[in-house]
């Protein structure tokens, strides 16, 4: 399974994260998205005419939407992540996979504007990003009132993986996450999952490791 990947892309990271959580091996093919703009090249468009990353290639199969790639990786190596316990859960997972596109188009765009100087109507992106975070916060609050810690129920699913990266990285695009306690607790639970991996801008929870004792610096 080859993932055409960019280390700073939240939409690529969600694939790497799910693969790490499910034990799926990926062959990473780094795309020179910035500064090279390789995703716009003629060669890359042979693979994905839309000129976007991530792209997953497995034999003859090529997938170019992160929601589809997540679904495929989960089906291959971690079917529990599909969230198929009930019709309700399936509906919710589909809901959040679609919602994640709004996150990419708002928070993701604000971030690539502020960080990589890509063109955007920054105020419109930030307004839309705040609206997305408010919806996410409300949904997570309702889940908590029902005794659930995750977007589609009591356990994490693709719904959470799809929305987590942009929610964490909103400050990179000048959108504060301080006002959202339910989002803070939820991202914390996801970061504590066994097998969790980080990306630049999302630090690991150092508290999960004990304080080193005694004199350090020696092997």
């Amino acid at each position: 399974m080859i993932l055409y990947d960019y280390i700073l892309s939240p939409d690529c990271y969600k694939i790497r994260l799910l693969a790490a959580l499910t034990g799926q091996r990926l062959t990473l093919q780094a795309v020179d998205y910035h500064p090279g703009g390789e995703h716009r090249s003629a060669a890359f468009r042979m693979l994905n005419p839309a000129g976007t990353i991530p792209v997953l290639q497995d034999g003859a199969l090529i997938l170019t939407e992160s929601a589809a790639i997540l679904t495929y990786v989960a089906a291959m190596s971690g079917p529990d992540w599909l969230g198929e316990d009930s019709p309700q859960m399936r509906g919710q997972v589909a809901q959040w996979l679609a919602f994640a596109h709004r996150l990419s188009a708002s928070i993701g765009k604000a971030r690539s504007h502020d960080m990589l100087q890509q063109p955007a109507d920054i105020n419109a992106c930030r307004r839309a990003g705040v609206a997305c975070l408010q919806e996410l916060e409300s949904a997570l609050t309702e889940q908590r009132l029902m005794g659930f810690g995750y977007l589609a129920g009591a356990r994490p699913t693709l719904a959470d993986i799809a929305c987590f990266p942009h929610a964490m990285l909103a400050p990179d695009g000048g959108i504060s996450t301080d006002p959202y306690p339910a989002i803070r607790l939820w991202t914390r639970s996801l970061r504590a999952l066994p097998g969790f991996i980080e990306m630049p801008g999302i630090h690991r929870l150092h508290e999960l490791k004990p304080e080193p004792i005694g004199t350090a610096g020696q092997d």
């Binding site: 700073l8 090279g36 990589l116 100087q117 400050p171 980080e198 801008g201 690991r204 150092h206």
Partner: protein
């Protein structure tokens, strides 16, 4: 010369390889500037009044000076050494003082916490003694004999090694580091941070590298360096005060911060205050 120590410096304002036909509208020291291709097919820079500014192209970047250059652009002799790969890493914008960005680059004590399992890892957190000088003959800050244990010192490193570093500040918004080169003992990899000060609390950072590494793909080298720098970005955007305090009192340095102490003292001595806070608030 204009006599203003801030205006008379050279600043990076574009990557030569990325300067498109439409040029680049950007800012320098709070003023708009434009970088574009001249009729002689050389990059040119002009200020808001259309005045042409001095231009030098070196180390993959376009450099300009809004005043009268007090000296030629600093030299990195390794850039011309055969066998090195020169890597344009691209730009990352950071909402922080340009001087905070440089100071962070000179710091190793944060490696285990910010670049965990790459440039450092607990329990290997100790920073031993090293040497720091302000070299008057070249008017640069140098730190040498800096040693640190690193789990993955470079893209080409196979496992943990103790890396030796030298740091050099040849201009107020430029830092150069030299580090042990895993595939080529005896040589130093060169990694730089060229900082374009847009405003006192906003900058664009252009990392650039001259490495001995024949095996790693160029894209992997770029991504390794972007990873490291973007890990620093959320730190830099959350330091208070936003401007770098040049007077002691606001912040508490330790022996591990000797390079930073020398850098602040050197800035103050030169009267370089763009992005700096001079009085302890």
């Amino acid at each position: 010369m204009s006599g203003d120590p801030i205006l008379d410096e050279w600043y990076p304002v574009a990557l030569v390889s990325q300067l498109g036909p439409l040029g680049r509208d950007t800012r320098l020291l709070g003023q708009p500037i434009r970088v574009y291709w001249g009729t002689d097919h050389q990059p040119q820079v002009s200020d808001a009044n259309g005045r042409a500014l001095p231009v030098t192209c070196r180390y993959g970047h376009v450099w300009t000076c809004p005043g009268t250059p007090s000296r030629p652009l600093f030299d990195i002799p390794e850039a011309d050494q055969p066998g090195r790969r020169l890597v344009d890493v691209g730009v990352v914008r950071v909402k922080c003082s340009p001087l905070r960005a440089v100071e962070n680059f000179l710091d190793i004590a944060h490696f285990p916490f910010v670049h965990t399992d790459i440039l450092g890892a607990e329990p290997h957190t100790e920073v031993g003694r090293y040497d720091v000088q302000i070299r008057d003959e070249v008017d640069e800050v140098w730190a040498t004999k800096v040693q640190f244990y690193q789990p993955q010192a470079a893209k080409s490193a196979a496992g943990g090694i103790t890396t030796e570093y030298m740091y050099r500040v040849p201009a107020p918004t430029v830092a150069v580091l030299y580090k042990t080169c895993p595939p080529r003992p005896g040589e130093w990899d060169v990694i730089t941070l060229f900082v374009q000060p847009l405003e006192q609390d906003l900058c664009e950072v252009w990392p650039w590298m001259a490495l001995f590494d024949d095996t790693t793909s160029l894209t992997d080298l770029i991504h390794f360096q972007q990873t490291i720098f973007v890990q620093d970005r959320s730190i830099l955007e959350n330091q208070l005060p936003r401007l770098l305090p040049l007077d002691p009192g606001m912040e508490i340095p330790t022996r591990a911060d000797m390079t930073s102490i020398a850098y602040r003292r050197w800035l103050k001595r030169r009267g370089y205050s763009f992005g700096a806070q001079l009085v302890a608030a």
